[in-house]
Amino acid sequence: MNVHTPPEAAPLIDIRDLSMSFAGRRGLLNHLTRSEPPKVIAVDAVSLQIQRGEIFSLVGESGSGKTTMGRALLRLVEPTGGEVYFRGENLLQFSRSRMMEARRDLQMIFQNPYSSLNPRMTVRQTLAEALSVHRVCPKSEIDARVMALLDLVGLGKTHADRYPRDFSGGQRQRIGIARALSVEPAFIVADEPVSAVDVSVQAQIMNLLLDLRERLDLTLFFIAHDLSVVQYLSTRVGVMYLGRLVEVAPRRELFMRPRHPYTQGLLRAAPRPDPRRRSAAVAILGEPPSPMAPPPGCHFHPRCPMATDVCRTTRPALTTIQTGHLVACHHHQAAADGWTGAGHQP
């Protein structure tokens, strides 16, 4: 799993201060007082480089901004700030037609493949359409390509002329993956592709993604909330909390030596499939605050056992504390020193 790209290699994707805010819904109070509804800053000045061949995973709780981040960096929503360089060029300045061309290289896989597949098209038609829209191959070769794609994702000839409703959840996810792969993209954002399926299907899909990455030299931006899935699949991991990246590290480093109290809490909260290692104490108290009124300073401070005055006033910058390991915490040293593993003593 060790893809080690020398640091001087230009990143495939270079995200700089990417931001995305949504206007909140206008309530009665806003009408009466003619005030602006509160904004939601779903992605708050996130910077990140992704190297070719990586499986970079983004984890975080519901509402932390993972999906918005994935969509904004593919420009499926128009970001409200920042830059996204793809092979050295800023995507956000591309014209419509340039962007259309670039789409071929930048694909997305969704959590619920059913809603993203046309129910009136057979699998063959769905894949053939993707191939012809992007003129991936001559018309005469489309059929052979479709078959090769089905084979690639572990489906057979017999599946080609069926409709999405005739497939299981796992099979639909394979079709979604085949469609994304059909145009031979360089970069795929996969938004929780295994979150809604059973563990056996989850394992099938994850193995498929690992195989495909190996065979096709893919780069994946993988969104998840399940840390064990991320541990299995990733080369590098970023942890998001309320729109901000709070920690980034190579996979092993993140799981062995997490330095942000939030990452540490997430690791302790995950239920381990091992009855000999049970945890007794609650990992993180409290709930994530409202994204419409995030707390000042470090967003995590109201739930953080290490918070002090500085955390309540000053946003900690995402800082490199060792090669490849970045953390945004005023007390990362103390947090690192206090970490004794995910605990789980009886």
């Binding site: 799993m1 709780e61 519901s62 084979d151 690639l152 994702v153 572990g154 489906l155 057979g156 017999t158 599946h159 299981s168 796992g170 099979q171 394979r174 059973d198 563990v199 056996s200 299907v201 989850q202 394992a203 099938q204 994850m206 193995n207 498929l208 195989d211 909330h225 399940d226 840390l227 064990s228 899935v229 541990q231 299995y232 699949l233 996979r251 092993r252 799981f255 062995m256 809490g265 997430l266 690791l267 302790r268 909260a269 995950a270 239920p271 381990r272 499939p273 091992d274 009855p275 000999r276 049970r278 945890s279 007794a280 104490a281 609650v282 990992a283 993180i284 709930e287 994530p288 995910a342």
Partner: protein, 347 residues
Amino acid sequence: MSALLDVRNLTTRIPTRNGVLTIVNDVGFTLNEGECFGLVGESGSGKSMVCRSILRLPPTSAALTGGQILFDGVDLVSLPERDLNALRGRQIAMIVQDAIAALNPVLPVGRQVAEAMLEHGIATSRADARERVIALMRKVGIPSPEARVDNYPYEFSGGMCQRVVIAAALACNPRVILADEPTTALDVTIQDQILKLLVELQKDLRLAVLLVTHDMGVVAQNCQRVGVMYSGHIVELATTQDIFSQPRHPYTAGLLSCVPSIDPEDGDRRLQPIAGSPPDLADPPQGCRFHPRCPMADTQCRSGAFPLREVAPGHFSACIHHEALARAGGVLPAATSSATHAGGGPA
């Protein structure tokens, strides 16, 4: 220890256009006071239907066609509806996955928690009920309950709604709680809080909890014993320790080998997915229902009945090859590719 709830040969059928489906098939287990019993299995295996059948709440078209459900020695299956009503929510309470949907959106949460108390005569007056509700809300970890008791469900987060639902379940001091995926819709940090709350309550109040989940991690962390469901059957039943350390059914072993580890120290072992997918209930395979996906299956597995049998003290399995599996340390032989089109992925 005699069982508080003793489910025997429970069978539930639903008539559909494709014929009568047997959704729950000869299911049996016991639930003791102060125990958390896990029911685990993939989507569609019948876990929810077991819970609903215990309270005789299946869809109206469904029929409980067999078995007994002994609660404190009384058979719920033959109990008149009126008597069962007196038990439901009073002695046996249910917590469902979707807390927000379970609550009435136009009633303050406090009123909803109070409802069962008033109905079952636990509270003597509205004022008494209110006091009790506030105490309960505090017990389940809802901050400043005096202020929150008159709020509506939409004013609560998903996690807080689930706490309200738990408070409502506890309202009449039940002895059994059927918890059907109580945390599946929640974030991992909130799931952790809610499960620890449930376990604490279960210990303090000596509740018997049936915890339905599809997450082996949730089972490992919270249950004393487990039943593994597949296609309407319980195929293995044992203590949590035994299920994890020496599974005696290939389906259980398969499930375990699908679960990724959160610990990099466990190594980069490749996951071994179970080939194929669960059978269609309208056309289930003959013999052992798992045999088309099972790497240990042979001709014996293709016909006949496969009831649970005690294969070691307190350890029940429906697999005739349980000894071979035990000898292999609970590890399945590598799957044969013939078993699958959906499984395994490209070689």
